[in-house]
């Protein structure tokens, strides 16, 4: 055989295997409104940057007639490529090959690219579209999942791990995405659950559709499993690229800097926040009034919207924002919002992203449901995450900072590097209404007109304690600033914090209230 014929043979082999499950299966995939695994990889990566490995890997299962079956690539595509010219490792399960089911060879391909990503310190993107374990391969499938979970955990906090759910992801398979940093879902395509609708119906008699049980919306809004929700696969791919632009490639580096931009003029920071602390506004407008180009990339937009998390840039550098949202549930902390913020704070801390906290909250959400849902242990997560974080931490108190909420939102006491407050800020052990009712209980009860007395005492308390100057007088606030100075003060604080270097006591690891 000449070299030429060898080359032609190679091309022929590649062509055949690259078809995955074949034309019929690809047609079926398209009918479900889904792209193929290969199309997905090519759409996410830079043009012509993808290089595939282990194309010719085949399974060696012998039971249940498997020895007769040829499964191209064993139902998964792995490889490397670039996004914005920076390398990433990627795998995509191929639903056209045996329903993307996970057997031993399939799992070994995934763990190979995971090991590669961790060794090379580059981000890992996993595209999930699989019916689950390949039952014919028995316990070997389970071993495969376990090996993946172990590597997810090992790589956590070292390289960014991104999961994209573009099809079913059921049973044990859901735990790999759950262990990764960011999960992307797409309407009508993503389905995640531990136990499917048919089992639920036969065992429990409850009838529910896949979409209602574990569709994209459910995970974006209710469970908090998903971080990004898109209406189409292409919108999802754009979100992935945007995210990649904001985060560093590994825990040793910084996100790539962008050209500096000023915020847009339409966001006048002095006109956004109403003076009355009980009237809401959209905190995102405040974020946009201080970020470069007024751009803000929100994470978990639909889950626990009473707290806002996401990335923006200031002078070209990536900043992680954590902000109370008065527009929803008055911006209170509760179980879900504490979870949401705490995990994001730990992400920023692991990947050298400075954290800016914008504070305006009345405290914790009252209610039996909250207490019984464990608001104590969930709320503790946010304290833990802020206290533990060693990246630059800047807090700006815009309006209310009451009680436990004040402490939790990156206060000086949890080692914020800089704390600023606006002149209208109310920093106090509780809101004037609550405080007056307790401190002046006797006077109010004994007054001729208790309601008038209450109002008078509330006003008195407001004048005396509900301002930034008591806290500033103790040095808990570094400076009371004018709203217009917010961006420049944060920028200055971040500049001063550039070489921040602190370390706590030596330990194996802490025990956060998971």
């Amino acid at each position: 055989m000449s070299l030429r014929s060898n080359i032609l043979d190679l091309r022929k082999r590649k062509k055949e295997v690259q078809k995955g499950g074949g034309d019929k299966a690809i047609e079926k995939q398209a009918k479900m409104g889904k792209l193929t695994a290969r199309e997905r990889i090519l759409a996410i990566l830079d043009d012509k940057s993808f290089h595939e490995y282990d194309l010719f890997v085949e399974h060696s299962a012998k039971d249940f007639g498997m020895e007769e079956k040829v499964l191209h690539g064993d139902g998964v595509i792995i490889g490397t490529g670039t996004i914005f010219k920076k390398p990433v490792c990627i795998f995509a399960q191929d639903f056209t090959v045996a329903g993307g089911s996970l057997g031993l060879a399939h799992a070994r391909k995934i763990t190979k690219i995971m090991d590669h990503a961790l060794k090379m310190r580059v981000p890992l993107i996993g595209i999930n579209d699989s019916g689950g374990a390949r039952i014919q391969e028995g316990v070997n499938s389970l071993a495969g999942y376990g090996e993946i979970f172990f590597r997810n955990t090992l790589a956590s906090g070292v390289i960014p791990q991104i999961s994209v759910i573009l099809g079913p992801c059921a049973g044990g398979a859901v735990y790999s995405p759950a262990l990764t940093d960011f999960v992307f879902v797409v309407e009508n395509i993503s389905k995640m659950f531990i136990t499917g609708p048919s089992v639920i119906k036969s065992v429990l008699g409850e009838e529910i559709s896949m979409e209602e049980l574990g569709g994209a919306k459910v995970h974006a809004e209710i469970t908090g499993n998903a971080h990004f929700y898109a209406k189409s696969e292409h919108e999802c791919f754009e979100q992935i690229k945007t995210l990649i632009s904001f985060i560093p490639r590994n825990n040793k580096g910084k996100a790539m800097p962008f050209p500096k931009k000023t915020p847009k003029k339409d966001f006048n920071i002095e006109e956004i926040v109403p003076m009355n602390p009980k009237i809401p506004y959209d905190m995102r407008d405040i974020i946009r009034s201080i970020t470069d180009g007024s751009e803000f990339f929100e994470i978990m937009e639909h889950f626990a919207p009473n707290i806002i998390i996401g990335f923006g840039r200031m002078d070209g550098e990536t900043i992680g924002f954590v902000a109370n949202q008065p527009k929803v549930l008055a911006g209170v902390l509760d179980t879900d919002s504490s979870d949401k913020a705490a995990r994001f704070i730990r992400y920023c801390d692991a990947f050298n992203i400075p954290i800016v906290t914008l504070e305006d909250l009345p405290g914790y959400l009252p209610g039996v449901d909250q207490e019984h849902a464990g608001v104590i242990r969930h709320g503790a997560k946010i304290l833990y995450a802020y206290s533990e974080a060693t990246v630059p931490k800047v807090t700006v108190i815009l309006r209310k900072a009451y009680g436990g909420g004040y402490i939790a939102m990156n206060s000086r006491h949890l080692r914020a590097d800089f704390v600023f407050a606006w002149p209208n800020a109310e920093i106090a052990v509780m809101g004037p209404e609550g405080a007056a009712n307790i401190v002046f209980r006797k006077e109010i009860a004994e007054a001729e007109d208790p309601e008038a007395m209450r109002q008078q005492k509330v006003e008195e308390y407001k004048q005396k304690f509900a301002n930034p100057f008591v806290a500033a007088g103790q040095g808990y606030i570094d400076e009371v600033i004018e709203p217009k100075q917010t961006r420049s003060m944060i920028l200055h604080a971040l500049k001063v914090s550039e070489n921040k270097d602190i370390s706590g006591p030596k330990k194996k690891h802490g025990i956060p209230p998971f």
Partner: protein, 107 residues
């Protein structure tokens, strides 16, 4: 503004905040004081057998019924000495979680 008209009131420590609610918040389950005379299913499943009759006196710890759930046979027992007031389920009935099974009263 339409948006302002839709605002709800959330009371935190005596202060009334104008804000909006999430679906999850609106759907939260109201807490009710448990009634120890009502025996509910703690898991969904099938009633395999019922061992008592209405009006019967039953001692604490005696079996009331068998509930099969997740392939396990669970015996539901009398929590205190008492009497069966009403039985709300039948043999072979498939029931959801938190379904009222039996009403009892102490004697």
């Amino acid at each position: 503004m339409a948006e302002e008209q839709n605002l709800k009131t959330l009371i935190v420590e005596g202060a009334r905040y104008k804000t909006s609610f999430t679906k999850k918040f609106e759907n939260r389950v109201k807490w009710e004081k448990p009634n120890f005379n009502h025996i509910y299913s703690f898991i969904p499943g099938t009633i395999i057998d019922i061992y008592v009759k209405t009006g019967q006196k039953v001692k604490e710890g005696e079996s009331l019924l068998m509930l099969e759930a997740m392939k396990m046979h669970n015996i539901i027992r009398m929590p205190f000495d008492g009497k069966i007031v009403k039985i709300h389920v039948q043999k072979d009935q498939v029931i959801p979680k938190s379904y009222l099974l039996i009403e009892i009263k102490p004697i």
